[in-house]
Symmetry: D2
Subunit: 242 residues, 4 copies
């Protein structure tokens, strides 16, 4: 059983009719429904809940956290953002979706601006697998076609990912590193590009399949807690510790 | 001509006799002398100067910044630390030495705790090259022996480096990823482990050779400024921008 | 159920008493016994069997192949070596143990000499985890101590590994990248250093734990077969194919 | 002064009028002219010369070898292919252009099939920089537009590159990792995608700029020759060598 928490700022869906018509109960609800049924225990949390729904109790029982935010990044408190980043370093899996590239926890974990080019013009995106051995590609076709998506274009200002899993081609001529893995401390991070709020991307089965795979991949290993600080030698050598 | 600024907190050397005896005019002065003569224009800056010696004027004319700090990390202002990190993202090379692993700018750029094991016991460190093609190893022997150094041991909580250049063996049984490269934005970062303040490490010619090579490597490329934000298609496709 | 085939040249154990006393029925038998009981279906194969025990029938039903060889690398036929490398590219997991670094299939897959330093002097090896998030480290302590092992030292002439999982410290002062992952085509490869034939390394529980984890990690993903060669456009653009 | 040898199979240009009209004296001549004037001493070599023009004397005085081949890969002798690969491992820089992805030396060094998708339909290729800090991008715009090129599409069956520098977008919807670095032994390798024989790609200034940068990058470091084989301990520990 993997405990999954889906965090969504849940603002667009309340105030923009175009978004509401695609995700009437919120992106988080569509994701929760779509990801169901693989031994995941799924909860959701949103910005306007106390502590943005990310209390210690919730985080203590979260193996993998999904994050979707866009227009309200600044309304996430610094304290909660710092706590989420710290939990990731401590081993919680973290799957950052689409415009979450500019979220506070992701930027803290990357150490870069996470900036990019963008355009909303209903164009076609084709996502190609460049790492077919990766468990995130398990059972996924070598390409995923999204008929209408927002464009994100390089240069995407992130550190070189540990593993590059997907690259997108956009009709207007751009490319984008659309599936990237990172580790920070004991935590595994997957950034996955698709999911503009005005397109029904999160209903598309291949997209959900990738996210399901990513949840399993990001599930923390049961590793011994790392030791830090002043240490006795493993192999005595006659030296005197100061 | 590469403009190099060597930043040193310059505290130990004033208050600890043991350190003063090794670096009477400060670590920065020993480094400045030792790195001289390769077409570098070298300046130094220290904590107690206004803006820690890192004014906009200084940073504007710095190609590569070296950083040594230890007991006074917290006395570096958040503002200056943020500015240094931002300059690195903008292209300034950044060479972080030894206990600089815990400095504010390095931690911001890494996104991790940067924690490690340590021990001061005068033990032998042997630094091995694991990437002999790398320009930082140019003309450097396949191993560097430091007769007495502080131990730093794994797990070193950094992101997986882009390139691993050196690994250290310590007498007490530990290993350490002692030479690591990263990029953040347009900037190149090299972390180099040696240099505890009570040992004459920065007088050792091989250590200085590595740092000289790293300065040349970290010198920023003359790249076109990256474009971000809303973008017209490169290849028109009949879509309508929203 | 993962189908595992353990390949051992099985020569030392027949002709060297010192080895026979440690592995009386062969290294492969000790490994097969030690790895049992995790949903693995384990078979063994040895050099002196027809086709070295690696018939198409055996390879067709192998998910992950383990390889131990040393004094008889040259007696492995080029044909079988090429076939094994091809199967790895096709998705078969491949775990190369200790002196297998010089085996024909591994050298073909790496494209390098795979040379290294070595010394048999009964010295202590300490293996440190440098990637605690990795599934190969799952449940493994942050260090593994082998009281007596052969030394392997850097520079280890391999391509930069995709992931560096373990680094060893040897008593004589060397270091070694002891746990390295690679992919080739659809196949996942793990090189794991320990296991000199005169030491009881493959009876040590932590070593077996790492190999069990590696088997699970190397198990091929169920990916769509990649397409190669002449391709129609996904997105018609009015061009004429020549 | 960097000694550059440009190797071209030089077959298309003699027998296909369409190619001859673009490169009347051969691709190698166009490249030699275009790359001139940066402190390079440039020679060319072709398939029909004795030893394909790659005698020991030529290789002994080559710092960086460029390779273009396509229809005659099989006519390169195994002996010369092996020698070239061995020289690369020994430190010679190696820049593999376009259809050289299927050349014998490149495949030996990669250990994979190096297969890909392709299509000749005169479509537009846009090459994007994804690593603006890299010296191969020095002074290169963030995108290069080639109005007419052959399509190469993912999955490109290579090992994960050490550094990914460029990604291409093709009009028909594909993407490709167009600029990839690798190291093998002491040698640096750069694969650069563009250059189909029927298009005037190698006259385009940005393409030549990238290749010039790559030559400088691939120039071997002056590293101490690596030691391999049986080794005395650096740090005596009382063990007895067997």
């Amino acid at each position: 059983m993997i405990n999954v928490t889906i965090w969504n700022e849940f603002v667009h869906e309340k105030i923009h009719d175009e978004v509401k018509s695609v995700y009437p109960e919120g992106l988080h609800k569509a994701l929760a429904d779509g990801l169901n049924g693989e031994g995941f225990a799924i909860r959701t949390a949103t910005l306007d809940q106390p502590e943005h729904g990310l209390t210690d109790e919730v985080l203590d029982s979260t193996d993998v956290l999904l994050w979707w935010g866009h227009m309200a990044h600044d309304r996430v408190s610094d304290e909660i953002a710092a706590k989420v980043a710290e939990r990731v370093r401590g081993g919680m899996g973290f799957i950052v979706l689409h415009s979450g590239h500019f979220s506070k926890p992701f930027k803290r974990l990357m150490g870069t601006s996470c900036d990019l080019k963008w355009r909303v013009a209903g164009e076609q995106e084709i996502i190609w697998t460049v790492n077919p051995t990766h468990p995130i590609c398990d059972g996924v076709d070598s390409r995923i076609i999204l008929e209408h998506e927002e464009m994100y274009g390089e240069f995407f200002d992130i550190p070189a990912p540990d593993e590059l899993v997907f690259i997108s081609n956009f009709q207007g001529g751009e490319v984008f590193r659309s599936g990237c893995t990172f580790t920070r401390g004991a935590g595994k991070i997957f950034y996955f590009r698709p999911g503009h709020e005005t397109y029904p991307t999160y209903y598309q089965p291949e997209v959900l399949k990738v996210i399901r795979n990513a949840i399993k991949w990001a599930h923390p290993a049961r590793n011994a807690k790392q030791q830090f600080g002043k240490s006795e030698p493993v192999r005595p050598f006659g030296g005197v510790l100061v």
